[in-house]
């Protein structure tokens, strides 16, 4: 007798069995587990201890209150971030940009370093890095620990639970809500996390739409732009709240895009039924405050910041060169921005922003510093002259963008929309390629959000023009 006979024998035994084998085996295992538990576990007398969990779940996963609670919670987180980050951001900017750059120039002058080298290193590389730090560090140092505390507490699976019905409607997998949550940290991580989705069809949908989850690199852009443009049109007392609501609004537009694009994909190229899955809601756990703050500062804030600085430094050099190397009587930046301006203005942005998004393909983090440096550089503003870079408070940033860049409220709104809807960063694109091994899907993952971004911005710009906004 050999093994093939045994397998054949098993097959015939299986067809002879009158009972459902799998169900019976599982049943027997559960009975045994129940018996063992009864012998070793003693539960508390009354159900009193469980109430807090249940009450929380009744609110947070309720059909009526679930979504409003979610919106309020996240708006609160952003409000704390925006209110808290304002002052330290200004202080860091004074220290690093105002004092730091002046000091570096003074030392460089003393060492008789030629102005070309000074420009490239101090006005290019150093300033870009310093800007990234002062714009990003304070909001991240507040946002990440709070978000990690929520995660530790066990809130994320509740979000997935709330979202499940919507994803089912879209023909996608309920677990996509979880990969989307990962995307709020980092889209590359979110794309890897789609491995928890069994069906290849639903996994592809999750990969292609992950970019609609606003990532680490984009939160600071949204927070800054909403503070200086939306916060400025409401009474000062409400500025922080209005900015927070705007950021949540952009995130919600992202969720809507996720659902609509998922629904589109699941009805066209990736047709199929949504699969069923069970999601265990873990118990709420009191987060370990100090440990969470420590690890989220070290693991997330500093790592993300470091990545941003590493990306910003060469970008700073590129921007400085673009702004200072002249071709046919004009700087290269001038030529490029002139070329991009018609398209940019058509969709309510401008050439500087489009160029910034090209420079920022390696990392979304550097969009705002790039925009500021290019704007100042092109305007040949006295602000951009070495050593007179005054402190970069929200007011000054606003002035730079409005006076030198010609920004309006529409530019601010469309920049936020474009920040949500544009190509994934190069790391994410590479990850999508690694996970799908398909040029077609990778290209589509880039093309879909980019097309949406141009489309949506064009619509808002046209609508604004229709209502007399220039």
């Amino acid at each position: 007798m050999d093994i093939d006979n045994v397998i054949a024998m098993a097959t015939s035994e299986r067809s002879n069995l009158k009972v459902n084998l799998h169900d019976r085996v599982v049943e027997a295992l559960y009975q045994e587990a129940g018996r063992l538990t009864e012998r070793s576990v003693s539960l508390p007398g009354g159900p009193r201890q469980w109430r807090l969990d249940q009450v929380l779940d009744r609110i947070l996963t309720s059909r009526v209150f679930g979504f409003p609670a979610m919106g309020l919670l996240f708006a609160g987180v952003f409000w704390l971030t925006i209110e808290g980050a304002n002052v330290p951001s200004g202080m860091l900017a004074t220290l690093l940009i105002d004092h730091g750059a002046t000091l570096l120039h003074r030392w460089a002058d003393a060492l008789r370093i030629p102005s070309f080298v000074q420009g490239l290193t101090i006005d290019g590389i150093y300033l870009a890095a310093a800007w990234v730090v002062s714009v990003m560090l304070p909001p991240m140092a507040i946002f990440f620990p709070i978000f990690t505390l929520l995660e530790d507490f066990g809130y994320l699976p509740r979000v997935a639970f709330n979202m499940d019905r919507a994803f089912r409607w879209a023909g996608a997998h309920g677990k996509q809500a979880l990969t989307m949550m990962m995307g709020y940290g980092c889209n590359a991580a979110g794309v890897v996390a789609t491995r928890i989705i069994d069906s290849p069809r639903e996994r592809l949908i999750a990969i292609l739409t992950n970019n609609f989850a606003v990532c680490n690199g984009r939160w600071p852009t949204l927070i800054l732009v909403s503070s200086i443009f939306i916060g400025a049109v409401v009474p000062p007392a409400l500025a922080g709240a209005a900015a927070a609501v705007t950021v949540v609004g952009v995130a919600i537009i992202g969720i809507v895009c996720t659902l609509l694009v998922s629904a589109f994909l699941s009805r066209t190229w990736l047709k199929g039924q949504a699969s069923v899955f069970s999601l265990e809601l873990p118990p709420y756990r009191p987060p370990r405050l100090l440990q969470t703050i420590y690890t989220s500062l070290i693991d997330r804030t500093l790592i993300v910041l470091w990545r941003a600085v590493v990306m910003a430094a060469p970008a700073g050099a590129v921007i400085w060169l673009l702004g200072n190397v002249e071709v046919a009587g004009q700087s290269m930046a001038h030529w490029i921005v002139q070329g991009l301006d018609p398209v940019g203005v058509l969709i309510g942005l401008n050439g500087v922003i489009l160029l910034a998004y090209v420079v920022a393909i390696p990392a979304n983090e550097i969009v705002i510093p790039t925009v500021l440096m290019l704007t100042l550089n092109l305007a040949k503003s006295p602000l951009a002259e070495k050593g007179v870079m005054i402190e970069l408070t929200d007011d000054v940033t606003r002035r730079v963008l409005v006076e030198h860049g010609g920004w309006t409220l529409l530019t601010g709104i469309n920049l936020m929309l474009f920040s949500l809807l544009h190509n994934p960063c190069s790391t994410t694109i590479l990850t999508i390629w690694n996970e799908t091994r398909s040029k077609r899907w990778t290209a589509l993952a880039v093309a879909i959000p980019l097309a949406l971004g141009f489309g949506v911005c064009f619509i808002t710009a046209s609508a604004a023009r229709l209502f007399g906004h220039h």
Partner: protein, 280 residues
């Protein structure tokens, strides 16, 4: 105090045999998993704190999240007890070894065919009944398993008490209560892993969950036939059950002839010679 302890167990070679003897020499080896003497698999339902246990043992800082499905690939780390080096493999959470879903397959295949020397099943002490389902399946496959009752702090907070000794007796496997988030029970687990790996802690043969009479008879017939082909197969009953259910992975392994080897090693190698042959 130290002197007292030494005096009380200083009979002949007593200290060397004491499980705590190696504790001073514990090193966390982080990612360096080369040349491990023993392979330890970390299994368990999703969200029971496997990654926290993993971090506590290896000193790594793998990100831990309070939601199921966080670990999608297996993570590896290492630690050393005394002179023996242990490779620890953190598997994605799985509710069962019977299903065929893609992310659970990583865990399943490793426990079944990755030949770990020790399998640690991490359970949530606050939801033991549901968690035991996986533990019982693991115990049918291997006798070198340890049950971790994790989240004991949370169980205590809710007034749930678990009699770990009674459970260990019933299961025939060591049970270690832990609160890995607070570092409670970590040395215990390390010593228990070392004890089971080296054979100092004897485990009972695989325990058996009885099924319906019709199933039992079928399983017995297939198991007999299996033993004709592989007389040394240690858990023919379990393999027979999987063949009866038509598990494609087990059928593939059976055809390839690796089934016998994989499951063979756990039981036939005597613990003492194993330690000797590995040069420690």
């Amino acid at each position: 105090m130290f002197g007292l302890k030494r005096a009380s167990c200083g009979i002949d070679d007593g200290c060397a045999g004491c499980p705590m003897a190696g504790s001073a020499a514990v090193h966390r080896f982080g990612l360096d998993t080369a040349n491990a003497d023993y392979v330890v698999a970390l299994a368990g339902n999703p969200n029971t704190g496997k990654s926290t246990v993993f971090n506590a043992l290896t000193g790594l800082r793998q990100h831990v999240g309070n939601w199921p499905g966080k670990t999608v690939v297996r993570a590896e780390g290492a630690f050393v007890v005394g002179k023996a080096k242990f490779k620890l493999v953190d598997l994605p959470g799985t509710y069962s070894l019977l299903s065929n879903s893609a992310d659970e397959e990583v865990a399943r295949d490793f426990i079944l065919f990755g030949r770990p020397d020790v399998t640690v099943v991490v359970t949530d002490a606050t939801a033991l009944e549901r968690n035991l389902n996986l533990a019982l399946q693991v115990l049918e496959i291997t006798d070198r398993a340890i049950l971790v009752l994790n989240l004991m702090d949370e169980a205590e907070r809710r007034g749930i008490s678990v009699d770990d000794r009674a459970l260990a007796r019933d299961l025939g496997a060591p049970v270690v209560p832990m609160a890995a988030r607070r570092g409670r029970g970590v040395p215990d687990l390390r010593e228990t892993i070392a004890g089971v790996a080296t054979g100092k802690i004897a485990c009972r043969p695989p325990r058996v969950t009885r099924f319906d009479e019709a199933i039992e008879q079928s399983v017995a017939r297939i198991a007999d036939a299996l033993l004709d082909v592989h007389p040394e197969l240690p858990n023919a009953r379990w393999v027979a059950l999987r063949l009866l259910e038509g598990d494609p992975n087990v059928i593939r392994e059976a055809r390839a002839g690796t089934l016998g080897q994989g499951l063979h090693r756990h039981v036939v190698e005597a613990p003492a010679t194993e330690v000797a042959s590995r040069g420690h």
